[in-house]
Amino acid sequence: MARDVEFAEFFTATWPRLYRTALAIVGDAAAAEDAVQSAFARVYASWRRVSSADHPEAYVRRMVVNEILSSRRHGWGRRERPSESVDPVTSVDSPEHRVVAHGSLWPAIRELPVRQRAVIVLRYYEDLSEREIAAVLGCSPGTVKSQASAALANLRRHGALQDGADA
């Protein structure tokens, strides 16, 4: 079916980036994979609506981030997740293991509250504007601004950013 072909192409094209974003926010490979996999199941269930969006990847990114935030609030064990089978967890290094040159960065990021972490990743990895981040997180741009400010302050406090660094 054309629908399945379109979905498969979209899945293949967007999975790597969305996985990396999820990994950066959640900080755990298995949880990141779970969040993206779960989001894609929901994407398939609403494929016509998702595919007709102006920016389908942005739409799915929002689903992934909300999967993570929601799971953090309620715990993965209590979330309704479509999983007919529990696949063996694929082991993937967290980005923290790869950081050599920026030794204090990932530990500092992982210390951030999850929403602050999401703001940092969406702002500095996904390169989204405050307004776009607000749309992803379902909050106001002002809240994004304050979360970003708090996150940067926390990173400075942990020595991952220099005082007075540009924002």
């Binding site: 979905f7 498969a8 899945f11 293949t12 999975w15 790597p16 996985y19 990396r20 974003t21 990994l23 950066a24 490979a29 994979e33 993206v36 996999q37 779960s38 894609f40 199941a41 929901r42 994407v43 398939y44 269930a45 016509r48 609506r49 007709s52 969006a53 102006d54 920016h55 389908p56 739409y59 929002r62 909300n66 929601s70 309704e80 479509p82 999983s83 007919e84 089978s85 696949d87 993937v92 980005p95 790869r98 950081v99 040159a101 920026h102 960065l105 990932w106 990743v121 500095y124 990895y125 379902g138 909050c139 940067l152 990173l155 991952a160 950013l161 220099q162 660094a165 540009d166 924002a167």
Partner: protein, 357 residues
């Protein structure tokens, strides 16, 4: 490190991560399950759970389904004067006729429901029943066979008619019933794989794997409407909204044909298309769109819509923070909206019972 360095570091470190291969098969398999569950939940659960009731489990013995004669306890009076206003947060609460019920039992019946001005039509073991404004359930076909057949049902926007499938004496039939008088308008034999795609002015649109036909319940006339490449999304007031190839059968001449998405809906007057946006596009060239006061205007934005039984449009939109929605009832074509209340949908998308797109 500056924020510029932060940006570079994130890009460099994350680019170095080799993502595991995504499981496409699992995503599609689970996606299909979610769709099935949405359909079943929107229909079944809603009714049964809405009732906050005692639903006695259907027993299947040797191929014969045995129903309890009183599966749903009376709810007390409901108010359908402003439409059914039937919506739900899966696993949490159901709103129906101005009242709220806990959604504690959502899995008992496997059936589809249809919102009508006279109540929610649902199937109990293949037999159609109506949860009416009195809060009580009545059998629409007391003599029908119990069945595992999975029929659909449709409501007519031009009269108090509803079309549903039922098995009588072993023969599947589509029946059109006048809910105002509780009289059968007509019956027509169908195959078990027939889907009721629409009902307009007493004419039923029936789809089989071979194509779509019309059956006029008043004259019993049957005509070809479209081949197998056509899917009728909706029919209202002489307008057919279709996806795929344009209907080209003899019956098509009686309708104004409008191409659209298969999960879109027409307004009751057939003048506008509701298609996942609070801007309803006109079906006639030169027509003006309807702009609802509430809900996102751009398609693809987060929101949910349905045409209610009084012809208004129900909208669930995130006004504060996901998954906190507000639900509105919006007049068409004026576009003005009345807030019905908040809805927190933590366990699935908001649902409009018996009227989901």
């Amino acid at each position: 490190m500056s924020t510029t360095d932060l940006r570079r570091a994130l890009e460099a470190d994350l680019s170095a991560v080799v993502p595991p291969p995504g499981d496409l098969a699992r995503a599609t398999r689970e996606g299909r399950r979610i769709r099935r569950r949405r359909r079943a939940t929107a229909a079944t659960a809603a009714v049964v759970a809405a009732a906050a009731v005692t639903v006695v489990a259907v027993q299947v013995t040797g191929g014969t389904t045995v129903r309890d004669p009183h599966p749903v306890a009376p709810l007390g009076r409901l108010d359908f004067s402003e439409g059914l206003r039937a919506y739900a947060a899966p696993g949490a609460e159901i709103h129906l006729g101005g009242r709220t019920f806990p959604a504690s039992r959502m899995q008992f019946l496997d059936t589809d429901a249809t919102a009508t001005p006279y109540g929610v039509l649902f199937y109990d073991a293949g037999v159609p029943r109506l949860l009416g404004e009195s809060g009580e359930v009545t059998d629409l076909e007391p003599g029908a066979d119990t069945s595992s057949s999975h029929f659909t049902s449709k409501v007519d926007s031009q009269g108090p008619l509803v079309a549903y499938g039922v098995v009588r004496d072993g023969q599947p039939t589509v029946t059109v019933r006048n809910l105002a008088t509780d009289e059968v308008v007509g019956r027509h034999d169908i195959s078990r794989d027939t889907v009721i795609d629409g009902l307009d002015a007493g004419v039923v649109l029936l789809r089989t794997p071979d194509g779509t036909t019309t059956w006029d319940s008043r004259t019993d006339a049957v005509q070809e409407l479209a081949g197998r490449e056509t899917r009728v999304a909706d029919v209202r007031n002489g307008v057919i909204l279709y996806d795929g190839s344009a209907p080209d059968g003899a019956a098509a001449a009686a309708y104004r044909l409008v191409k659209g998405a298969v999960d879109a809906q027409l307004t009751y007057d057939g003048q506008h298309v509701l298609d996942w946006s609070s801007v309803l596009q006109p079906t006639e060239p030169g027509g003006e769109p309807v702009r609802l006061e509430q809900g996102p205007a751009q398609r693809g934005a987060l929101g949910f819509w349905a045409v209610d039984t009084d012809g208004s449009v129900l909208v669930a939109t995130v006004t504060h923070r996901y998954p906190h929605y507000d639900v509105f009832d919006c007049e068409v074509p004026a576009g003005n909206c009345v807030k019905l209340g908040p809805l927190v949908a933590r366990h699935g998308d908001p649902m409009f019972i018996g009227a989901d797109m």
